[in-house]
């Protein structure tokens, strides 16, 4: 098994060099964050996550299954020494519930970070932004470093930043939908107005989605299903790593303006009569 290097997008000699990805008080090389759910088995998960080059992985807090014969904490599979473990509040529907899960995650003793997610609607899994903001304020006050999942609404993003979140995480499209980036304009708007890192969370389906998302200039992307539900998760993880890097480089390069007329790229003079 090859362990992929965890590198910045490499622009090569003479290229625009990227800066490290600063988040809270930490520095990351990879701009890809991955979830650890939905894999068919642990071995596939670990191999795929290593292939993705991600340094940060999200985990969920759940009851220990007492009738299982052995302890099945995911920390047996993913060492906190190899990966930064980000507890999330996935599946919470109220601010109170999310705060409870966040506190339990912190009590595990790894760090004081939380990926805050409060769902407001069961069929679309769209976030409850009011409850998210309420929970964010409580958790920031308790000393948490909060990364907040939200929709692509600029005003909510600004409020979450004001509340003290270390990152705001607008969706590309609904969780697990694989629809890709449906609203690049709003994502660019959020990125241009916030000072904290903007990480697009949810909706990416394939590598071109990851690339297109990074081309908007956001700081990173968080995904899970796109890798876990691919026919070959390890191969998709590698594709996502490259897609993220390609998108980042394209952003740094500064794309040509798009226009709806053709413009020749060869000289128009010097043609034969």
């Amino acid at each position: 098994m090859t362990i992929e290097s965890k590198d910045l997008a490499d622009a090569g000699p003479g290229g625009v060099q990227d800066e490290p990805f600063l988040l809270g008080d930490r520095e990351f090389q990879s701009r890809l964050i991955v979830g650890t759910g939905k894999y068919r088995d642990n071995e596939t998960m670990v191999r795929a996550i290593r292939a993705s080059g991600s340094e940060m992985v999200t985990v969920a807090v759940r009851r220990v299954e007492l009738d299982r014969s052995k302890e099945e904490s995911i920390l047996h599979q993913l060492s906190p020494e190899e990966f930064f473990i980000l507890p999330n509040t996935a599946g919470c529907y109220t601010a109170e519930e999310a705060v409870r899960y966040a506190r339990l995650g912190r009590a595990a003793g790894l760090n004081e970070w939380v990926k805050l997610e409060v769902i407001g609607d069961e069929s679309t899994l769209l976030p409850d932004v009011h409850a998210t903001l309420e929970a964010a304020r409580i958790l920031v006050d308790e000393g948490f470093k909060v990364m907040a999942y939200t929709n692509e609404d600029l005003v909510t993003a600004l409020r979450l930043e004001d509340a003290g979140c270390i990152s705001v995480m607008p969706l590309a499209s609904p969780i697990g939908s694989g629809l890709g980036l449906v609203n690049p304009y709003y994502i660019r708007e959020i990125k241009s107005r916030l000072e904290v890192p903007v990480i697009v969370d949810a909706g990416v389906g394939t590598a071109s989605d990851a690339c297109a998302t990074m081309e908007q200039g956001v700081d990173g992307v968080l995904m899970n299903t796109a890798i876990a539900a691919a026919d070959h998760p390890t191969t998709m993880a590698r594709a996502m790593k490259l897609g993220i890097q390609a998108g980042r480089l394209a952003y740094l390069a500064g794309r040509m303006p798009s226009r709806e007329i053709a413009v020749p790229s060869s000289p128009t003079h010097g043609m034969l009569d």
């Binding site: 969920a60 009851r63 220990v64 007492l66 009590a107």
Partner: protein
């Protein structure tokens, strides 16, 4: 052999299910009784999180409600009624 069956038991609710355990157990004792690794489990005792450094100090009483949780694979929202949610 001398203590087998002779010890008093108390009822607890652990992860939503009623369970009888030997009387006088501490949180650490309960985790050991259930063959869990204390370093990997977070304990909520009657809705209060027990700091891991106090696992040996907190003694359980009849009727106490405990939630024993740990980290599992997860990305985004799961089904709402998933069995192992709190």
């Amino acid at each position: 052999m001398s203590d087998e069956g002779g010890g008093e038991e108390i009822p607890l609710t652990v992860n939503g299910k009623d369970r009888a355990v030997p009387a006088g157990l501490t949180v650490r004792g309960l985790l050991e009784h259930l063959e869990l690794v204390p370093e990997l489990v977070v304990v909520e005792h009657n809705r209060e999180i027990v700091d891991r450094s106090r696992y040996s100090e907190v003694t359980l009483e009849a009727g106490d409600r405990l939630e024993l949780v740990h980290f599992v694979g997860g990305g985004k929202a799961a089904e709402r009624d998933l069995e192992n949610r709190l």
